[in-house]
């Protein structure tokens, strides 16, 4: 069903749909479509790259990575499969789980949704780039101390989201932490400890309410 009009049998075609919209809206849509097409034509005339591998240069954790990649290779694949940086994880490959979160010029992004070629010229930080001289970053240290990790597969993504949050907002509220982590999933159910770890990394003293009763 690539062309709804060609299908014919349906009672609802693109034509009737357009009729339903006001003429102004149709004109606007049409004008926009023409503009986009023209823009694409212009861009394509300038440079067509691929489909074969092309040279790609990435700046990751302060170092330069020179790779040969098909243009359709994502930043996540470039890191995990064309270099040894396997810290960012693939949990869904479609922007739903956040295990692949990296910093892109300091902002958290899903690296599975960014083509490697688009990432050229930007500063990329992965989980491997946070510890300095073997010393864990405050966020990493807090995650370990508060046991904000179980199987650990989602952990790099959470740590990157939290790192970005604390950089922008060093003293977040619980709601702000929840918002910042809304794009990260964890199946082991580590969430309460993640919340504690973020507070601790932000310098707020956190004590567990857990009570142990003997006997």
């Amino acid at each position: 069903m690539n062309d709804p009009e060609a299908a014919g049998a349906g009672t609802f075609s693109r034509r009737t749909f357009l009729k339903g919209l006001g003429t102004t809206a149709v004109a606007a849509v049409a004008a926009q479509t023409t503009a986009v097409a023209a823009e694409l034509e212009k861009v394509n005339a300038e440079k067509v790259i691929g489909p074969g591998a092309v040279p790609v240069t990435l700046k990751v954790n302060g170092k330069t990575l020179k790779l040969q990649l098909e243009p359709r290779v994502t930043l996540l694949d470039a890191l995990r499969n064309y270099s040894s940086l396997t810290g960012a994880k693939e949990g869904c490959d479609r922007a739903a789980c956040g295990a692949c979160t990296v910093l892109f010029d300091g902002l958290p992004i899903y690296s599975c949704q960014k083509l490697a070629i688009e990432a050229q010229g930007h500063q990329i930080t992965t989980i491997e780039g946070l510890a300095r001289d073997g010393k864990l970053s405050p966020v990493q240290q807090a995650f370990v101390e508060k046991d904000a990790l179980q199987c650990g597969y989602c952990t790099p993504g959470f740590i990157m989201s939290v790192t970005a949050l604390l950089k922008q907002n060093p003293h977040p509220t619980a709601d702000e932490i929840k918002h910042a982590c809304a794009g990260n999933l964890c199946r082991c159910g580590t969430h309460p400890h993640i919340l504690q770890a973020v507070f601790q990394a932000a310098g707020v003293k956190v004590t567990s309410k857990t009570e142990v009763i003997y006997g």
Binding site: L149, Q150, C154, A182, R187, T190, T210, E211, I213
Partner: protein, 697 residues
């Protein structure tokens, strides 16, 4: 008889996870991170039909795609696929993108059948399409009966009849199933995301006709399993065959889409329960009919096992007169597998819902009703502790009596986990080096539960060292074997084994060095006397230090918006016991995790199948909803430490009662029961009569 030391420095105290730093820095290498020399991607082509005869598969076009090094069929000759997502073929190549192209290029000649059924209510009807030709879809369980049920109902003061249903739940571990397999002339090495390295080795060797000595399975880090990762699995067999063809290591990890379709789930349940009590509140009669689907895993070959649709009924409570009839219904969908406390969460939801409904009918407080009927002394204590923590007496109101648009309610439920228990067949060894460093090697797995930390804590306690001085290695079939990690077994299996290794180490150190007590401050002096070679000590699981079962109770407090139908869990109080607690920090994590998974089961999670096309509609995280940080309530954990019982696991019991407690709290808030999981806004509004009822799948 061996006994645990008292008092303790590390056991029952807080030790941070020994593999926390590698996990927090990205240094940990999971099965999906393995980059063996010259490795290739592997990918699987799956059936787009819920039922079809596959008559021919042409792999040649795939092999012509640049970079593709091997392609194999899932099975030779003609074969039948029985669910949307069943394996058809697999390819291996140098790039992921090339593999995607190759999957599209494979030519499959298939005869799709229109006769299929994905809905268990349809599948059990007369004349329904047979999932396994010649075999009825419904496999009845053995009826169980005790006492005189019909007479007993006549003797009851109050009788309720309810229909309680639970949906198919997906494991959805964050790391998908799969492995990197390298097949050379010497045999194969599989870096596998598995809960059972030995069961994986057994499966691979059997299927590939290799000697077991030729198969090595390594699981250094793995990203969760929850019961779905015991066997070798089709995906690992295919990876191995691709590796043999391509003469290169193949990494084949499932996509999230594959993961939802083909590697296990928790069966659904449809529980018709009739239950009666005498005037004093004593349970007297119980009758239940239950059916559920384990996908294609019921009715025919159960392959994979461990995930049947039958559930323990009547759960927790001894009813003198009961009759239970169950059935497993086959449908054209992926097979069930063991899932965290198999059978228990659905049983808990049915029985504990019925308990509250009957308490209401009797005019009793549901907590009092439980204390009257639950003979278990541990749970009796736990209910009292939890009630105190939550403020039950102050907060409990008659169902539906909370005022306003947003109504609040509280509920509780009990748990038990009798399965698993320690494995006597657990072994391990330690190398004690002359410089005092020490490495433990056990052929078990750390699936995120903290097994490595447990080993380090027990060893540190026994040897008078610090946990960080202990090196722990698990997850390699070259190590002395232990059980698969599931059923809350691992902690109770490894703790006594490490105890035994340490005792033997101290004895041998004494014999070799003359130092009578090599523990603590004498450790380094004793080790130094070993000379050049390390002392290697073997040990086994020993009696008297671990046991089963574990119990536990949970309380839930919820707010329900009667205009939108949205349920918000405000608070969970989780009171749990697991004998002698090893590390209270990772233990707390396990309980949090069980509660949150149970909350997903209660409110969000459900596999949705399309009856007409036979396709699963939500094989992704956008539409199969897991709880997120913003959904998670305050969880107050109370641990009942009972050292005299020995070590018991906690993974399963922590997830058992959550959904039932939340369901009871919702019923308490609304004054009407939403008897179907997940408790979605639509079901809440339907229960309030504000929208038409939702069909339960």
């Amino acid at each position: 008889m061996a006994s645990w030391p008292q008092p303790t420095k590390y056991i029952s105290h807080v030790t941070t996870r020994v593999d926390g730093p590698p996990k927090a820095t990205g240094r940990a290498r999971y099965s999906s991170d393995i980059q063996a020399d010259g490795w290739l991607y592997g990918m699987i082509l799956r059936s787009k039909w819920p039922s079809a005869k596959i008559s021919e598969i042409n792999l040649d076009p795939a092999l012509k795609i640049p970079g593709i090094k091997a392609a194999v069929k899932a099975r030779d000759g003609e074969f039948t696929v029985r669910f949307y997502g069943e394996e058809i073929a697999a390819v291996a190549g140098t790039t992921k993108q090339g593999c995607l192209d190759a999957l599209r290029a494979i030519e499959v000649r298939a005869e799709p059948r229109n006769e299929f059924v994905v809905n268990e209510n349809e599948a059990r009807k007369d004349g329904a399409p047979e999932v396994w030709a010649g075999t009825p879809n419904v496999t009845p369980g053995r009826p169980r009966e005790h006492g005189d049920v019909d007479r007993a109902f006549g003797e009851c003061t109050a009788v309720i009849e309810g229909f309680y249903t639970t949906a198919v739940q997906l494991h959805n571990s964050m790391e998908t199933h799969g492995s990197t397999v390298s097949w050379t002339e010497e045999g194969i090495t599989a870096w596998a995301s598995t809960q059972g390295i030995s069961s994986m080795r057994d499966g691979l060797a059997g299927a590939l006709q290799l000697d077991q000595s030729q198969v090595r399975v390594i699981t250094d880090f793995m990203g969760g399993g929850f019961g779905s990762k015991f066997g070798a699995g089709v995906e690992s067999m295919l990876a191995a065959r691709l590796s043999r063809e391509a003469k290169a290591p193949v990494r084949l990890m499932l996509t999230r889409f594959d993961e939802a379709l083909a590697v296990g789930n928790r069966p659904s349940s449809f529980q018709k329960i009739k239950m009666g009590a005498k005037a004093d509140g004593t349970l007297h009669a119980f009758e239940a009919e239950n059916y559920g689907t384990a996908g294609i895993g019921a009715g025919g070959d159960a392959g994979g096992g461990g995930g049947g649709a039958n559930i323990p009924m009547p759960y927790l409570y001894p009813v003198p007169n009961f009759r239970v009839q169950q059935a497993s219904v086959a449908v054209n969908a992926g097979s069930a597998r063991a899932f965290r406390a198999p059978g228990n969460p659905p049983a808990s939801f049915g029985m504990e819902s019925a308990m509250d409904d009957l308490a209401v009918k009797l005019g009793m407080d549901p907590l009092e009703f439980r204390l009257k009927n639950d003979p278990n002394e541990v749970r009796q204590r736990e209910y009292k502790i939890g009630a105190e923590k939550l403020g039950w007496k102050k907060k409990y109101r008659k169902p539906g009596s909370s005022s306003g648009v947003v109504k609040t309610g509280i509920g509780c439920a009990g748990a038990a986990w009798h399965g698993g228990g320690p494995s006597r067949d657990t072994h391990g060894e330690a190398s004690i080096n002359p410089d005092g460093s020490i490495e433990f090697r056990l052929g078990v797995q750390d699936i995120g539960t903290g097994t490595k930390t447990v080993i380090a804590v027990v060893a540190a306690e026994m040897l008078g060292l610090k946990p960080e001085q202990i090196t722990v290695k698990v997850g390699d079939t070259n190590f002395p074997p232990g059980p698969a990690s599931g059923g809350s077994r691992t902690c109770a299996s490894v703790s006594p084994t490490v105890y035994d290794i340490c005792q033997r180490a101290l004895q041998q150190l004494q014999a070799r060095t003359g130092i009578s007590d090599a523990r603590g401050q004498n450790w380094f002096a004793a080790c130094k006397k070993l000379g050049v070679n390390p002392l290697v000590v073997h040990g086994d699981w020993i009696e008297g230090l671990s046991t089963r079962p574990a119990y536990g109770v949970q309380f839930a407090e919820v707010a329900v918006d009667t205009e939108t139908g949205l349920v918000t869990v405000k608070k969970i109080v989780a009171v749990h016991d697991c004998g002698l607690m090893i590390d209270t920090l990772t233990l707390e994590s396990q309980i949090n995790g069980g509660v949150i998974m149970g909350m997903g089961y209660a409110l969000y999670e459900e596999r949705v199948m399309d009856d007409l096309s036979g396709v699963m509609l939500n094989p992704n995280f956008e539409t199969y909803k897991l709880p997120g940080l913003a959904d998670v309530p305050e969880i107050e954990v109370v641990l009942l430490n009972m050292p005299e019982r020995g070590v018991i696991g906690i993974g399963e019991p922590a997830t058992v009662p959550t959904a039932a407690a939340i369901g009871n709290a919702v019923a308490n808030a609304l004054g009407v029961r939403v008897g179907s999981l997940p408790i979605t806004p639509a079901k809440v509004l339907a229960a309030l009569g504000k929208v038409p009822p939702v069909a339960t799948t």
